[in-house]
């Protein structure tokens, strides 16, 4: 890549920091330049996000249908998996799995609810009723 070819497209990161990029100058010597973004990779990011959004919507539907508890929705919303949730909660993975059952969820202690809300960066109210 030549220095004058360093892409200067609009990027997500570019809004807060232009990235250091290595390229060669006219004499073939390596120099650094800054890049505000590159459409090709911004689009790659978009594809990843679209796929997350789809998963989140599916999770939302399943919670609304009463198949799953809000724990499932928030896990997807925060791009976590059961293992990550269990580690942040300091409980076993199978407990997280149980808490995803609406019947078990109803009986969760206030302390657990509060901890979940903290892990998912939301209020207790919003954690319990995410679609209000």
């Amino acid at each position: 890549m030549k220095k004058n070819e360093i892409p200067q497209d609009e990027g997500y990161l570019g809004k807060i920091a232009r990235e250091v990029t290595y390229a060669v100058d006219d004499e073939g010597k390596y120099v650094t330049g800054r890049s505000s973004g590159w459409t090709v990779k911004e689009e790659a990011n978009d594809v990843a996000w679209e796929s997350f959004e789809r998963q989140i919507n599916e999770a939302k539907q399943r919670v609304i249908n009463g198949e799953m508890s809000p724990v499932f929705y928030w896990m997807e919303k925060r791009m976590m998996d059961q293992g990550i949730v269990a580690q942040y909660m300091g409980i076993w993975k199978w407990s997280v799995k149980r808490h995803m059952k609406p019947s078990v969820f109803k009986k969760l202690s206030d302390a657990k609810i509060k901890k979940y809300a903290e892990v998912f960066e939301t209020s207790v109210e919003e954690f319990k009723n995410p679609f209000k």
């Binding site: 890549m1 997500y12 807060i16 920091a17 990029t21 090709v40 689009e43 990011n45």
Partner: protein, 340 residues
């Protein structure tokens, strides 16, 4: 303290942390490309059976921590690395070092990194930052990705130091010794030779088909099957993930190939073999081909291209890169053998 610390923006976080910390404690000859090359940072692997964010687990670089460690070892710099099970202790020991005016590196997760844009906040736990100072409840942070210093409060810093998931940092902090003597040209020469040899070994001789230059062809062959095996939607997501690993924050473009090209040019000052310039050009060529492949991939994941032939072309581009890099690394290996 903040006033004597010089923030250095780098392409890759670990290179940047290594370069800035060594400079702060007395070694100024190390640049980002030198740290990357001495640390044998270039790599390629696709781990089968493992998924990251629902896509293929691909890496273009060596293991987290290796670049810092190898560079320090090459320069006879002592390294301390600590992990914690107790967050209070982890924060207290960091505070102690900061109170003594000693900037310290931490491995952190990016998910709760508040100064990152939302689009970059994935559960990725091998990010590196330097904590420079503490003012009240705020920590002054030198994050090599950022153009200037940023801050995190104590709650936020503790949270990212104890991020959970794969490669959980467990509060890890690390730092080199103090009052270091400037690296000698002989140390650099020896470090460069060793770094190149180790990188040739990793890229050419790692056993099995999934890593090194062979691994690139492995991914190329897989890509040709993705459309039929995964369906369009998932195949697109997989390709996007490959491009993200290759071009996202930290690689300096072209999956680190351009940084490696810069390393070979800078190495010439300590290892005056003119062939290095020719080899550097070959890495530039490789990096350019990786970027061409990314453009082809983007055609597919944005839906402009979708036929089997388009996937085949994408796969072939990687197979060609694999052959090119195998050739380049063999030339590099032959060159470095002669200098001893």
């Amino acid at each position: 303290m903040t006033s004597d610390f010089k923030h250095i923006q780098a392409a890759h976080c670990e290179n940047g942390v290594t370069t800035s910390l060594l400079a702060h404690y007395g070694i100024h000859k190390i640049t980002e490309p030198l740290a990357f090359g001495i640390g044998s940072g270039l790599f390629y692997i696709q781990l089968p059976f493992m998924k990251v964010n629902g896509g293929p687990a691909i890496s273009f670089r060596t293991l987290p921590g290796a670049i810092f460690k190898r560079t320090c070892v090459a320069l006879d710099v002592p390294v301390t690395r600590k992990k914690y099970s107790n967050p209070q202790k982890a924060m207290a020991e960091l505070d102690e070092r900061l109170a003594a005016g000693k900037p310290t590196a931490c491995q952190v997760g990016v998910y709760y990194l508040t100064y990152f844009p939302k689009e970059y906040r994935f559960h990725f736990n091998a990010h590196n930052i330097i904590v420079v100072d503490k003012q009240g409840d705020d920590y002054i942070i030198s994050d090599p990705v950022m153009e200037g210093l940023v801050t995190l409060n104590s709650y936020e810093l503790e949270r990212v130091r104890f991020a959970k998931g794969a490669f959980a940092p467990r509060g890890q902090m690390y730092y080199p010794g103090e009052n270091l003597t400037e690296a000698t040209d002989v140390q650099l020469r020896t470090g460069i030779i060793k770094g190149i040899k180790r990188n040739c070994r990793d890229m050419l001789h790692i056993p099995g088909p999934i890593g090194g230059t062979d691994g690139i062809a492995y991914t190329g062959r897989q890509i040709k099957k993705w459309k039929a095996k995964l369906g369009d939607e998932k195949a697109r997501m997989y390709l996007a993930q490959l491009v993200r690993m290759q071009e996202e924050i930290g690689t300096g473009g072209g999956g680190f190939r351009f940084i490696y090209g810069a390393f070979l040019q800078q190495a010439h000052q300590y290892l005056p073999v003119d062939e290095l310039f020719d080899l550097s050009k070959k890495f530039t060529e490789s990096g350019d081909k990786w970027r061409d492949a990314a453009i082809q991939a983007s055609g597919i994941y944005k839906g402009r291209l979708s036929s089997h032939a388009d996937y085949n072309k994408m796969g072939d581009m990687l197979i060609e890169i694999s052959a090119l890099e195998k050739n380049t690394f063999n030339q590099l290996k032959a060159m470095i053998k002669k200098v001893n």
